[in-house]
């Protein structure tokens, strides 16, 4: 067990975004949260990474209660995450992005004044190879295509020291070829022993990739289980898939 | 006899307090006239149009020129001034701000450009009219009307009434007309507004037209109530801006309320503090409001990062 959330509540003004959400993520497994838009998946992600403070509930990471930590403190403990809408640092190069992700000493002002910056090049090469981003390291983030930015974001997530990798819709808006290669990257990472938690609303993408699925709707977990169990869960089907007519059941979530 | 009327109130008399409240209202109405146009422009364009101050001054000088020098009847002068002010504001937008925006200039650049415009016209006015103080002289200076221990001139009463009428009209316009609703839509969420097909440039045009016309009205009243000097724009702008922020810079009725509050706070504040602190009171309010209530009293919630 690497992460467990218990009874998380969060509302914005009058809108209850999360209403008593609990789930756990196991070590060395790929876990997915699925659910329709507006079901609170991304909010839940933001709560876990502490960008948003929950109104109530507890979050445990690696056996430690992290509910009251700040976002960057939690991140330092070993959570790495990406965003659905990739927002990189527009005016930095690929190399600088990865250096920021890898470095743990760059926050010191004085000791950095006279340091040369090229120290992490081996690790940078390694990550670039994992994600297969074939671009010169001096390329600015603004000069990358959408797909390349998705890859760079993934590379940053991998490069950052972590024990849990959280991916918010890693294949949203990318072409099928890139989608497959991202799927392979995730498999490869999992084989190396990574624990991954991802959000996805495309069921097809997760079915043959993940070990465990949580289904969210209206701020609650309504079902969980292996991909097969979820696919055959009559409750999920009846309550959600059923509403969309017979064909294109899954697509209607997008 | 005089001593009988006075009732002690913490060392101050009620008459003093009442007069200060009235003073605050008069000051506030001038601030509000500047602030309303300013915040109208800010709410739809999201940059600080400091040259708004020069619109007010230019309008004042226009009155001086047309009425006092050329001799055009006063009411005709007023109408011409308001129209020319509106065109002046539109010209600033079309000739300076819009081309800059099209070239991708950020809001800070626009702020600097607006200061450039302010400086330029201040000096043009000085070249044209000289550095001396000008008086329009439409109304003879005389002792105000005293009522229940409070003194006010007729002009000040007129100014208060005119500001009220304008604010009501402005509010009606923003709430009831299609253009007004579109303007509010842009100020709420300009991206969404452009998705639903609201032409942002047209809205900006209109906000500059109306905002600057308001500046024109402010200029006329300032010219009558105070006097004109080429460099008064900066001061007016700072106070108008402060009032707008206090009330909610993004919301016109808010900025009007804020301006009155500022006028009151300044004038009541120096009853207690030495009068040298008048500006300090205004600026401290500006600072504290931004720290603790950045959206002002009535403004929409957007000043802080959501957490």
């Amino acid at each position: 067990m690497i992460l467990s959330c218990k009874d998380i509540h969060k509302s914005f003004g009058g809108i209850k975004a999360i209403q008593g959400c609990s789930f756990t993520v196991k070590k060395n497994k790929i876990t997915a949260i699925i659910g329709p838009n507006g079901s609170g998946k991304t909010t839940m992600f933001n709560v876990i990474s502490k960008l948003i403070d929950p109104d109530s509930g507890t979050i445990e990471f690696d056996g430690q209660d992290v509910t009251s930590l700040k976002d960057y403190e939690l991140s330092k403990l070993g959570i790495s995450r990406t965003f659905q809408d990739v927002k990189l640092f527009q005016n930095l190069t690929i190399r600088e992005h990865l250096q920021i992700a890898l470095s743990d000493s760059d926050e010191r002002l004085l000791s950095n004044l006279f340091r040369t910056k090229d120290v992490e090049s081996e690790k940078i090469q390694e990550v670039m190879e994992i994600v297969g981003l074939d671009k010169p390291l001096e390329t600015y983030a603004t000069d990358l295509s959408y797909g390349q930015r998705k890859l760079l974001d993934l590379a940053i997530g991998i490069a950052k020291p972590h024990s849990l990798l959280m991916l918010d819709e890693p294949v949203a808006g990318v072409n099928p070829r890139l989608r497959d290669s991202i799927k392979n990257i995730l498999r490869e990472l999992n084989n190396r022993g990574e624990s991954i938690l991802l959000i996805e609303h495309d069921m097809n993408f997760v079915m043959d990739l993940v070990d465990h699925i949580f289904v969210m709707d209206a701020g609650k977990v309504i079902a969980e289980g292996s991909p097969e169990e979820i696919q055959n869960d009559p409750y999920v089907l009846a309550a959600y898939l059923g509403n969309c007519g017979d064909e294109e059941e899954i697509e209607c979530w997008t | 006899m005089k001593n009988e009327i006075k009732t002690s109130l913490g060392g101050k008399t009620i008459a003093l307090l009442a007069q200060s409240i009235i003073n605050g209202l008069i000051t506030g109405s001038i601030y509000a006239l500047v602030a309303s146009g300013y915040s109208l422009i800010y709410s739809t364009n999201n940059f600080m149009h400091f040259a708004h101050g020069i619109s007010v001054v230019a309008a004042g000088y226009m009155v001086y020129w047309l009425f006092s020098l050329v001799g055009i009847p006063f009411y005709v002068t007023c109408i011409i001034t308001v129209i020319l002010s509106a065109i002046f504001g539109l010209a600033m937008y079309r000739l300076i701000y819009l081309p800059l925006q099209k070239k991708g200039a950020s809001n800070v650049i626009l702020l600097i450009a607006s200061i450039g415009i302010l400086t330029f016209f201040q000096n043009v006015i000085q070249i044209a009219f000289g550095s001396g103080v000008k008086l329009v002289g439409y109304i003879e200076v005389s002792k105000g009307i005293t009522f229940a221990g409070v003194t006010m001139t007729l002009l000040q009463i007129v100014i208060l009434i005119i500001s009220l009428i304008i604010f009501i009209l402005l509010y009606q316009f923003m709430q009831k007309t299609k253009t007004g609703r579109n303007m509010r839509a842009v100020s709420n969420n300009s991206e969404l507004a452009s998705i639903v097909g609201i032409n942002h440039i047209r809205i900006s045009d209109i906000s500059f037209l109306i905002g600057s016309a308001l500046a024109g009205v402010a200029g006329i009243l300032v010219a009558l109530e105070q006097n004109l000097s080429p460099f008064m724009g900066t001061n007016l702008m700072i106070k108008g801006f402060t009032g707008a922020v206090i009330g909610g810079i993004n919301y016109v009725p808010g900025s009007i309320v804020g301006s009155f509050l500022l006028g009151m706070a300044e004038n009541l504040g120096i009853l207690v503090l030495p009068s040298g602190y008048k500006d300090a009171i205004a600026f401290s309010m500006l600072f504290l409001f931004l720290l603790f209530k950045p959206n002002g009293i009535l403004g929409k919630k957007e000043g802080r990062f959501d957490k």
Partner: protein
């Protein structure tokens, strides 16, 4: 000396303003803090240093305390405005400038209020007293070189890249485990420190200061320098300082009728400023945009 006293004077001002502009660019351009309170740091530095030196403190101590005192205010300002979005941060820091100005004006027991502080002693370093302007020029040049070098190293170090990352996307940086608040206050404190130092250089050069020297006109000047030079460009700030300080001086060489000389020059200056912005809306060397 090979250059005239006037040139010396202009160069001294240029070097002082280079420190001021580059330090503002550190906060505004590199870190993305829309700080319009920089002129307040400048004033705090000038007053602190002047008052301490008049009290008899050695110059070196006075200038360092001036810088540190300004940076304490830098910390407080970041702390206070941390939660504010761009435009609102700009307005709040502008308010801070105004408040500091009002305080300089009204705390008469300390600052002599509007009377200003005349007769600020010229600096004396390790027994060497700077008497002439030529000596002062060498002194400010050295201080300027050291200050700009430190800030240049800073923005090009890994720490500097974090500042730029913070400007571009603070949320992303936090989930990468970086304490963005700490970054911001470190940047602001450094920025304020150098602003304080340049304030001290200014006070001991002109030898007379009063609150009006640290008000809107000055704020507009340094903001203009940074914007015209380009955000996040030290080179830009340096070049723009030279341009912006020199243009009005060049205009003094124009033969104008005495009656309109002041306003015509200023109007021309404003036109040149707008023209530069029209031609290069991101400043001379700017690549970066703020939201």
């Amino acid at each position: 000396m090979i250059i005239s006293a006037y040139q010396t004077h202009i160069f001294i001002l240029i070097f002082i303003y280079i420190i001021l502009a580059v330090s503002l660019n550190l906060a505004l351009g590199y870190t993305g803090l829309l700080n319009l309170g920089h002129v307040a740091f400048f004033g705090i530095g000038a007053y602190t240093s002047a008052l301490l030196a008049i009290e008899g403190l050695p110059y070196i101590a006075a200038v360092i305390i001036a810088g540190l005192f300004a940076s304490v205010f830098g910390y407080l300002l970041v702390k206070a405005t941390d939660k504010l979005k761009g435009d609102y941060m700009a307005m709040a820091t502008l308010g801070f400038s105004f408040v500091v100005y009002s305080l300089l004006l009204n705390l008469r027991d300390i600052t002599r209020g509007a009377m200003g502080i005349p007769g600020i002693p010229k600096p004396s370093i390790l027994g060497l007293t700077i008497r002439t302007n030529d000596q002062y020029l060498i002194f400010v040049m050295a201080v300027c070189a050291i200050s700009v070098f430190i800030m240049y190293r800073m923005v090009n170090s890994p720490f500097g890249k974090l500042l730029e990352a913070n400007r571009d996307n603070a949320v992303n940086l936090r989930v990468l485990g970086k304490n963005t608040f700490a970054l911001k206050y470190k940047a602001m404190m450094t920025s304020a420190f150098f602003a304080g130092v340049s304030g001290s250089l200014y006070a001991h050069y002109i030898t007379f200061i009063d609150p009006t020297s640290f008000y809107i006109a000055e704020l507009i000047l340094i903001l203009t320098i940074v914007i015209v030079g380009g955000l996040a460009s030290i080179k830009g700030s340096i070049v723009a300082t030279i341009v912006i300080i020199y243009v009005p001086e060049m205009l003094k060489m124009l033969e104008l009728p005495a009656s309109v000389l002041g306003p015509v020059r200023q109007a021309l200056y404003a036109m040149i400023l707008i023209a530069i912005l029209m031609i290069r809306p991101r400043g001379i060397f700017g690549k970066v945009d703020l939201e």
